[in-house]
């Protein structure tokens, strides 16, 4: 193997060489970013960048091995996060990040598997997958960016759009009841469930460390501003004004039951850690129960 590593790299045609390496390394967190990938595509004031930074800060704080951490994402604004990280990253099809990550994790259990994606990707098109991954208790961490709409396609209503909220596809106000992601994740069997807003950067970072260190299915919801899509149609103001709203209207709680944490339009936001339980993971059960029996049966 070492001999082969010494071999010369393949020749790349000039046009394929990248010219965007300028400025890489200006920021201390750049070592977690792929060379030449910043600036990212997210709008000014978008909260995905903050959650993304919190994730990188979590990697830094807990010193997770960059070679053994894999990030899988689906489609959408949040789905683009995978492409910026200097890790093994997979940008998959819409909604299928969780089953893809399930395959990765089960095939190579030593990998720390993180799914970084949005609310529409994880709970609408991928809704079936998240509940089953939680039920199976596959050891992975799901970071869900909840901005209450589909940002990439221009701000359509989704599974988390609150009643009354206006989006491009709910021009008269949304008349469907949204999911409460915390309650859903708990009901599906997640071992760790937390919610933070983009303003709670330190808590979010620590929560991601906790979730990634947790053996089992862990779920972290991040409430983020979408100034271009959701906020504009609902006249919520700039990203800054939404962050001020979070400051005034979010409260950390450790007594609320997940069913009482539903998010209403312009309502109070309960944040904190809601579930932290121990239960055997899929692989633990597989190894200790199924493989044992299979070996005994010959």
């Amino acid at each position: 193997m070492k001999e082969r590593l010494k071999q010369a790299p393949p020749k790349i045609p000039d046009e394929a060489k990248l010219s965007w390496k300028k400025g890489h390394g200006d920021h201390p967190l750049d070592r977690y970013l792929k060379e030449g990938r910043i600036p990212h595509i997210w709008c000014p004031g978008c909260g995905i960048g903050i959650a993304f930074t919190a994730f990188i800060k979590a990697l830094e704080k807990a010193e997770f091995d960059q070679d053994k951490t894999v990030v899988v994402s689906g489609i959408g604004c949040s789905g683009r996060a995978a492409g910026y990280l200097n890790l093994d990253t997979y940008h998959t099809t819409h909604g299928r990040a969780i089953p893809f990550a399930t395959g990765l994790k089960l095939a190579k259990p030593e990998l720390k598997t993180v799914v970084f994606s949005g609310d529409g990707d994880l709970f609408a098109i991928g809704g079936n997958h998240i509940i089953h991954a939680a039920r199976r208790n596959v050891d992975m961490t799901v970071i869900c960016i909840n901005n209450f709409n589909y940002g990439m396609t221009g701000g359509q209503g989704g599974p988390t759009t609150p009643v009354e909220a206006r989006t491009t596809t709910t021009p008269y106000g949304c008349a469907e009841h949204p999911f409460n992601l915390i309650y859903l994740a708990k009901a599906a069997g997640a071992a760790y469930v937390a919610r933070w807003t983009a303003l709670h950067t330190h808590e979010l970072r620590d929560s991601i460390v906790e979730a990634m260190s947790k053996t089992g299915f862990s779920f972290v919801e991040v409430i983020t501003p979408c100034p271009t899509g959701y906020a504009r149609r609902n006249r919520l103001g700039t990203g800054l004004e939404i962050m001020r709203f979070y400051k005034e209207n979010s409260y950390i709680t450790d007594i609320l039951e997940p069913e009482d944490t539903a998010l209403l339009f312009k309502g109070k936001i309960a944040v904190g850690k809601f579930v932290d339980i121990e239960k055997p993971t899929f692989m633990e059960m597989y190894r200790e129960y199924i493989v044992q029996q299979a070996e005994n049966s010959g």
């Binding site: 082969r4 590593l5 071999q7 010369a8 790299p9 393949p10 790349i12 394929a16 990248l18 792929k34 990938r37 960059q66 070679d67 053994k68 894999v70 899988v72 995978a82 492409g83 990280l85 200097n86 890790l87 093994d88 990253t89 997979y90 940008h91 998959t92 099809t93 909604g95 299928r96 969780i98 089953p99 893809f100 990550a101 399930t102 395959g103 990765l104 994790k105 089960l106 095939a107 190579k108 030593e110 990998l111 079936n128 997958h129 089953h132 199976r136 899929f282 597989y286 199924i290 493989v291 029996q293 299979a294 070996e295 049966s297 010959g298």
Partner: protein, 385 residues
């Protein structure tokens, strides 16, 4: 490798079981699937066998997830497969496209049943041939193999894993309900005699590695998740580094290569079986279970002194174009009769390759049953006269 990985010996098993054993013998260590008649037996066998040989069997929530999990597992280095039938195959199409784009090797066993929609869950059809080729959106090339017996189900599944790894492409086993549920003698040779070819590993360290830069055969070596190469793989059109580039130029470079890595290696991939072709005037072309009846018809016709030959397609995609063009250009070949259990799928390809040099006739049967030799014989007789 555990001692019971390859069950060397002679077995009396179904085509479905043979597919599963083929996978195990090829070193498959991951199976994600969803029950569907008539492919359930593959999953059942895998659920029993994989824990014995150190692999992982997981039953996913649907075929969308199964296919995604297979790609994920293969990205981590496992040889991974799934099995399904018509409706499930439709669901898998989305992620088969992803596997093509990410160039992730994997094997999909499709035990074809009658369609459309729920159709005939327990009865035969050969109606997914075109879907296997064109089912996912966009332009791509794929490999599909069609076994005609349980023995061949075993062998082709092993080959499918090798082809998938060599060309970094999803390979589909287009079996059908009859072959899948047929119980026959399957001989499994010793482990050493089973040919296994693995995917290419990166030839250099992470600093110099360009993940989607192809070797001369058009196939890039594959870095696995967790190996420290920090590869980004995206379903978006990407450049050699794997970074999304949304331009016509990048599309041209990438898709051209994805298509060419199969097309340019057609000769190496394609396999057919020939009977009495030397002086044949009428050539029956068939595959899968239809090939078994067709062979009987050819033998009968030959016995009666008719100049009828038979070409069995083992590889359906990439289509054996060179082979059929060659046959069509022979002076003695007057017509092709394509026998298949559908309204005409492979016949279009044959017609294209014949390019007017030989008549192409469909002996199409609607599914639910395999045609009687007499039915095909009548068609052949009509053409021959």
């Amino acid at each position: 490798m555990k001692s019971n990985t390859v069950i060397t010996g002679t077995h009396f098993i179904t085509g479905d079981d043979a597919c599963a054993e083929g996978g195990i013998a090829a070193g498959c260590t991951f199976f994600a699937g969803y029950p569907i008649t008539p492919a359930t037996e593959v999953a059942e066998r895998m659920s029993k066998r994989l824990p014995q040989v150190g692999g992982v069997y997981v039953q996913m929530e649907d075929e969308l997830a199964s296919m995604a999990a297979v790609i994920g597992a293969s990205s981590a280095g496992a040889r991974a497969m799934t099995s399904t039938s018509g409706p499930g195959f439709s669901l898998m199409m989305e992620n088969i496209g992803l596997a093509v784009m990410l160039e992730v090797p994997c094997v999909i066993v499709n035990i074809m049943r009658g369609g459309p929609s729920t159709g005939l869950p327990t009865l035969v059809g050969q109606q997914d041939v075109m879907q296997a080729r064109w089912g996912s959106h966009g332009d791509y090339e794929i490999i599909a193999l069609s076994p005609s017996s349980p023995q061949e189900s075993f062998e082709l599944t092993v080959d499918a894993f090798n082809l998938a790894d060599i060309y970094r492409v999803p390979v589909i086993i287009l079996s059908d309900e009859i072959i899948g549920h047929m119980t026959e003698k399957v001989t499994i040779s010793e482990t050493e005699k089973i040919k296994i070819v693995h995917r290419k590993n990166p030839a250099c360290g992470p600093e110099n590695f360009v993940p989607f830069f192809p070797d001369e055969d058009g196939v890039p070596p594959m870095a696995l998740a967790g190996d420290g190469y920090h590869v980004h793989a995206t379903g978006l059109t990407h450049d050699e580094h794997g970074y999304p580039v949304i331009t016509a130029d990048a599309q041209e470079r990438l898709v051209q290569r994805l298509v060419n890595k199969i097309r340019k290696n057609e000769e190496k991939i394609v396999r057919t079986e020939e009977y009495y072709l030397d002086d044949a005037e009428v050539i029956i072309i068939s595959y899968g279970c239809s090939a078994r009846t067709s062979l009987d018809v050819v033998e009968t016709a030959h016995g009666k002194g008719m100049k009828v030959g038979f070409l069995r397609l083992i590889t359906i995609w990439p289509f054996p174009e060179t082979k059929i063009r060659g046959l069509a250009s022979r002076k003695n070949v007057k017509a092709f009769v394509v026998a298949e259990i559908n309204h005409g799928q492979v016949v279009y390809e044959v017609e294209r390759c014949a390019a007017g040099e030989a008549e192409t006739v469909l002996a199409g049967f609607m599914g639910g049953r395999i045609f009687e030799p007499d039915e095909l014989y009548k068609v052949v007789q009509e053409i021959a006269n």
